[in-house]
Each structure stands twice: as structure tokens, then as C-alpha cells.
Symmetry: C2
Subunit: 455 residues, 2 copies
């Protein structure tokens, strides 16, 4: 143990780096301890042999995500619009369809099911508006909604099986959890922090959370880390946090660090795996036992050209067969390389996460050949993927979510400091929960809390 | 690292000791590593100043719990019948009642609600019978039941609010979780492993899981540990398990142990906190993220005499006010000391776990004075308690439970070995899940698996 810091930040993702940077800017002697050999957490960019950048993790930003936009501008990072020209393609119950927009897909559901689905969206927005951003557990119907799985809610809400199925198909791609696994209260709360379900579902084009792609998104983290310089320590997996009246000691293999305060900027399920002395209060530990991470494998398929564009297709695909629930065109508007990104989410991730990358590559290309009815999808020039549930320092993505009954039982502990320990991470954000923007906000908020105590 | 074992067992509770003992009996060189300074896990007995024994954890055994009975007989351990003479007492919606039996309480609910409740019990048993003990995820209606919280099930099942409320009051004391937190599938599965809901709810007196009390229950663990001798290592909290083609290394502070195989005999949420190299498969890690432990504080109040018995009361109390959901008379049939044991469960545990023992003592005595309407309950001679969610090497009790949606998504991993690692613990038992009997069975089953591999 060589020196005493003002604040140690555990985790060098966007939340932790935003905390460290905010503290450093205020003149606090802060250091960031990161388990991996890189910063960025669930943002991880790779430069390919083809001269472009592929994102293993987060990549999209929405128009009103002010804090991530702020950093993108401040660090002069490139963005590009999400490609969206052309029709969307899908397959449901073995039937292929092509429509102008995804909204058209939903509106053209058979009989009155399309109208019923949009009535349900209106009902959802009414419910979302009733959930307070700071204290969702105080929503008027919190106890009832937290005891109701989203699947049960859908069962009650929908008369037509087509509307219900269309709704339930949307969920895993947005939440990386199945409707059986989350409560209606969390479903609404997540949307509330984003400004509405229409925003996270891509139904509000002005506020669409997929409006733009950050080029080399990890450069946001690298830029913050660059400011912090040698205050960022990689390859330092924290195993234990010991606090007493005099301060905090943070243990990593072969080295311990001391400070006045700690900001733990990890998803709750990983924060819960550290050893704490004294042990964490039951209220906090019970929360971390009840906030698993979502399940997703993100897969990039690259082709010699975006030939689907010539056929008038946007590259957006919805498929109820899988492995991927959704695909997006991930290429530049005028890109020469064809790029599709597929999301294998929820139950599909459970089915496919135990397979090899080669097996997944084959299954995804088979899926694309079948759903596009086009053999050209069988021969990608490149395949890259990231199985987030397998990553030891993530163990899932996009974020942790409270299981049914947890928000009303344990949510008081989500941001409540424990002695000298403060909590960050996108799950603690009251704006853009689970998003890069929320992660940044959470780190800044935790830094402000600690600064207030440092005086 | 001094020697190479055949098998290392992580956890010296009933599951781990049963595994170690079974292996040793088969001539395998096995050792048990226990984090605490004592064996027994969630069985922990203390000899009081009054010359008797108080149980901080498990204490009851049922008539057809063959394995725990087998050890009790083998080690010549005393048992005593649960005291049950006299009437039961309760308070619901501010109204006190006294009835001959708890079953009478339920049958005498107002109007048709009593009959409705017993119809629901019949419906529950029909559902319980449909859940396979080995593979509950294969129940005919598994997907539907796993997506339905028990609260939602009750909402659909009951017409009368009195029957529903009576049912929901029963749940936390049995499951240490609220109806909002568990799926109907798990609710049924747990009962299935016990032979029926009537058994765990104390409605079948022949198979009642509370039929007898083991005197000094921890002596079961101590007896098994005694057989194992210096093969049981206490104060050895395992932090990391490393496996490769040659074997397994188990790391504890300052010392590592090597073996051919490991049996991890911890509740899933604690097993998930160890570091594993290579990292656990996603299927296993996702399961441990979704199996929190229940919430319970067990509280013993002791009086100069069991004066309630003279008033014709059994000491069984149900109360919807709290802190304790239930009390039992914990005394000997002819005991001179009055003993009551109260269970603060589920939401009540969340409310009270952050208070001091002194505050809980006062709240419980106030509760007893009020519900018995008898000032003598205000002056116990002794108060002992154990807040299980606060215990660093338990972090909850009686057991872990899968959150809604988890059994159908992740249950394939509950007993599936990972390389050289096998899994024990009462949550892996297909008979008496969550009970001492199930813990013993699970350890014996895991030991048999490993023996099969040792050849």
C-alpha cells in the first residue's frame, strides 16, 4: 500500500470513469481500478481488417441522451446516423413479410390486433407516467405491478393472440429478459427513465434511442481514461473492500489501495460478489441477490457489400425463429462493406450461449439465408461476436434488472451509501437506466455525493 | 499446498458433511473446507445458561424425512415432540381469535371463504402432483406457471378476500419469500419435493414437517465432522476454484488445497460469489444470479414458565401485524422454562432486519403482550436471535429460491457438474428441497456422482 487516495473507483466502465473524471475535475485525488486489461466495460470497439470499427457492446445513442452527447461533443468523437432506408423484413409463425417500417408491421397485424397493440402502447405510456423516476417503489400501484410479471400483464391486456405475440416478441431485444422474468413495475420504470416506452421501442423517431451510432464508442471511455492518466489502473480485479472509521482499503491480487471513500461502479450482481468488511447490510445484499444481468450475445456478420440495400431492404429484421431476435444494418450510409448486427436475446441467448462461436455463426447465416430467402447471406467475409453472459467481468448485458417483487422490497438500497461506499452503474440511474447515458449520469451523481462528504 | 486430495468439499453444512462422510466411507481421501469457525451451516445450537439448548437455525424434522432420521438414530441424538396441546391464537385485521387447531382457524373463515380456501388447497395438490421432482421445468404447464407469481395465482384463484389473505399469510413463514417473489411453479415444486403442500403447511399431521424437534440439532453436523476428524478444516473461507486437466485447486486465505474433484455445497447465491477459473458456463452463472436466499430472522423469547399452557394455549400464534409472522412453543412437553420461537419472515424481515437486536426484542415482546393480551409476555428472562440475511456465510435462509421465469430458463444447470465441480446443497435436492433432509440427500448424491468418476 503506497499512498492514500481521496476516492477509489471500482470499475472502469462509463460509470466509473465518469465518477473518476468528475472527482478529478474537482481536485480530488481519485483512482480507478479496472479488472480487465482495458477500460470501457460494456463498450468495447475493435478495428477490423477492413479498416472500420465494430462494436462488441453499446453503440447507439438517442437524441435526448444529453450526457453521452455531451461527452461525444467534448471529445470530438464521430457519430453516424443509423441506416434506415428501405423496408423492414420479418418472419412470424413461418410467414415472411416485408413492410415499409416496423410501425407498419405492427399496424398491419391481422384483424383488430394491430389496433389493439397500439391501444396497449397507449395504456403502457399511461402506466409509465405513474412511476416516479426517483422512487418507482412509490408508484400508486407499485405493489400490484411489482407482483405481476410482464407476461401476466400481457395475458390480461390482450384479447388477440397476434397482438400479444407481437408485444412479447419486442421485449427481449429491448430488455434482454423475457416477459416471464420481469415485473410490470420494472418494465414501466425502465421506460420511464428513458422518457417513454415509445422511445426504447423505437416507435418515437424523434427520441429514438437508436438514432445514431457512435463510431469507436469505446473512445468515450478511452478519452476519460486519458484525462485521468496513470490514475486508471487496469488488470486490478477488486476482491475485497474493508472499511473502518479511518478509511477504506480495496484489495486486488498482490496489492491493496487505501482511500477515504469508494465508488463501486459495477452492475449489482457483480458488486454483490465482492467481499465486504464489515459485511454489507442485509437490505443491500438482498438487493444484489435479486438483480441478475440480462442475457444477450451480440453478433456481427460482414459481407462484401450491403446487397440487401439494392433490393430496397433496410437490413432491419425481426424473426421469431432465431437465433437472433433482431438484426440491424450496421453499416455506414455510403458504406462499401455490408454489415449486419444480430442480437440473440433472452431465451434465445440461453439456447445458444453454450454453443461455439462457429456453431452460432452457422446458425445465424442459416437464419439470414432463410429469412431473406437469399443464398448470399450464407457467405459472410467476417464474423465477430461477444457472448456477454460468458464474460467474467460482465456476466450478462445490457444491464441488471430487479426480479418480480424486488423493487417494492429492496429498492431503497439501490443508491443508498453503505458507510464509505457509494454506488454507481447504469442500474442506479434515474435517467436512461441501462444505457450509456445513464451510466455516465450515475458516475457523476456518485462523484457528487462523495464530494459533498469530502467537504 | 501440502497434499493432494481425492475430493474437496466446500462448505461444512449438512450437505457438505454428508458428502465428505459418504466419500470417506467409500475410502476416498476427502476434506471439507468450512468458512466459519464451526460446522453445521444453518444448523447452529447453543447451550443456554438455563441448561437447555436453543436452535438458531433448523430444528424440526418430519416423520418421513428418512435421511435426517437415519442420522439422528445412527448418532443416537435426542428428539422431542413439538408441543401442541391447547388452542392456537391469532390476530387478523385487528381481531383476535382463539381456535382449537390452525385448521379450525382456516375452516372458520367468514362466509364461504373457509370452504374456498380448502378448495384451493385441493387445487394446489393437483398442481403439485403435475410437477416432476427431477425436472420441474418439464411440468405440462411449466412455462405458464413459471411466468405467474404466486400472488397472481392467488388473485385468480380466490373470490373471497378473506381466503386469499389467509393463504397469502401462510406463505412467508413456509417459503421465507413473499407471494410476489416466487413463481407458482417453484411454489408447487418445493411442496412436491416434500410430498405435498399439506405437509409443508402443517395441514397433514401424519407427515407434518414440524412433527419433532431435534435436541441440539447441530450435533448431527458435529457427529459427521467427528467421523471425518482432521479432514474438516474450519476458518477456511474459499474464494477461488481453479480447475484444469490435472485437477482442482481451491484457494483460501493463505492456503491452497488440491484435489481431483470438488463438491461445492453452498446455496447457489453464495456459490455464485466464488471466483472460478475457467469461468463458469453462462448457464450456471445465470442460475446463481437468479436464486436469492429467503429472508428470515429467528427469535427466541424465554420466560420463567410456559404460563400460556396453563391458559390452555399451545403457544402457536399467527399475527398479521408482526414483526413475527408466527410463533411456536419451543419448550419441552414438561419443560419448566417457557420458550417461544418467533419467525420474522419475508416483508417483515425486510422491515426489521436493519434494526438492532434490542429493538427487535422490544417489538416482539410488545407484539406478544398485544396478541396474548397478557403483560407477562413483556418480561422475558432471555432473548436470543439470529438474523440470517446478515450472516456473511449464509446471507439468508431457509434456502435459495428461483425467481419467476428461472426454473424454465435455467434449471438444467442446478445439478449439472462443471468439469471437476459437482454441486450439493438443499436447493439441489429432489426430496425435501430447502430442508435438513434434502441437504443430507444432496451431499450423498453429489458424493455418489464423484465416486462414479473416481472409478
Amino acid at each position: 500500500m503506497t499512498r492514500h487516495y481521496g476516492v477509489l473507483v471500482v470499475g472502469g466502465g462509463l460509470a466509473g470513469l465518469a465518477a473518476g473524471r468528475t472527482l478529478a475535475a474537482a481536485g480530488v485525488d481519485a483512482a480507478v481500478l479496472e479488472a480487465r486489461d482495458r477500460v470501457g466495460g460494456k463498450t468495447h470497439s475493435t478495428h477490423t481488417d477492413h479498416g472500420d470499427v465494430v462494436e462488441y457492446g453499446g453503440q447507439w445513442i438517442g437524441a435526448d441522451q444529453e450526457r453521452v452527447h455531451g461527452l461525444v461533443e467534448e471529445f470530438d468523437i464521430d457519430t453516424r446516423p443509423q441506416y434506415g432506408d428501405g423496408s423492414v423484413l420479418g418472419r412470424v409463425d413461418g410467414e415472411r413479410y416485408v413492410e415499409e417500417t416496423y410501425e407498419d408491421v405492427l399496424r398491419s397485424l391481422p384483424g383488430r390486433s394491430g389496433a389493439e397493440l397500439f391501444q396497449a402502447f397507449e395504456e403502457i405510456e399511461r402506466c409509465v407516467d405513474q412511476v416516479p423516476r426517483d422512487t418507482p417503489q412509490d408508484a400508486p400501484r407499485a405493489a400490484e405491478w411489482d407482483a405481476t410479471t410482464l407476461r401476466t400483464w400481457a395475458d390480461r391486456q390482450f384479447d388477440t393472440p397476434e397482438a400479444r405475440a407481437a408485444f412479447e416478441r419486442m421485449v427481449p431485444g429491448i430488455y434482454t429478459a423475457e416477459p416471464a422474468e420481469m415485473s410490470f413495475l420494472f418494465f414501466c420504470y425502465y421506460a420511464r427513465t428513458a422518457g417513454g416506452f415509445d422511445t426504447v421501442a423505437g416507435l418515437d423517431h424523434e427520441r429514438d434511442s437508436h438514432a445514431a451510432v457512435v463510431v469507436d464508442v469505446q473512445s468515450i471511455a478511452r478519452s476519460m481514461a486519458g484525462e485521468l492518466g496513470d490514475a486508471v489502473h487496469c488488470d486490478r480485479p477488486v476482491s475485497r473492500i474493508v472499511q473502518d472509521d479511518g478509511g477504506v482499503t480495496v484489495h486486488t491480487p498482490g496489492r491493496a489501495y487505501s482511500a477515504d471513500y469508494v465508488v463501486v461502479a459495477l452492475p449489482p450482481t457483480l458488486a454483490g460478489r465482492l467481499a465486504y468488511e464489515p459485511v454489507l447490510p442485509a437490505a443491500r445484499d438482498e438487493l444484489t441477490q435479486r438483480m441478475p444481468n440480462g442475457s444477450v450475445v451480440k453478433c456481427h456478420l460482414r459481407y462484401r457489400a450491403p446487397f440487401w440495400r439494392e433490393d430496397g431492404l433496410s437490413g432491419f429484421v425481426e424473426d421469431d425463429v432465431g437465433p437472433a431476435n433482431y438484426y440491424f444494418d450496421d453499416g455506414y450510409p455510403d458504406g462499401e462493406t455490408g454489415r449486419l448486427v444480430g442480437f440473440v436475446c433472452g431465451a434465445n441467448a440461453r439456447e445458444w450461449v453454450g454453443h461455439t462461436p462457429e456453431e452460432r455463426r452457422r446458425a445465424l447465416t442459416d437464419q439470414l439465408v432463410s429469412v431473406f430467402d437469399d443464398e448470399r447471406f450464407g457467405t459472410p467475409i467476417d464474423y465477430l461476436e461477444r457472448s456477454w453472459p460468458t464474460e467474467p467481468y460482465s456476466r450478462g448485458a445490457y444491464h441488471g434488472y430487479p426480479t418480480p417483487g424486488t423493487m417494492t422490497a429492496c429498492w431503497d438500497a439501490i443508491r443508498e451509501p453503505v458507510g464509505r461506499i457509494h454506488w454507481a452503474g447504469s442500474e442506479t440511474a434515474t435517467r436512461w437506466y441501462g444505457h450509456m447515458d445513464g451510466a455516465i449520469r450515475s458516475g457523476e451523481r456518485a462523484a457528487d455525493e462523495v464530494r459533498g462528504r469530502l467537504g
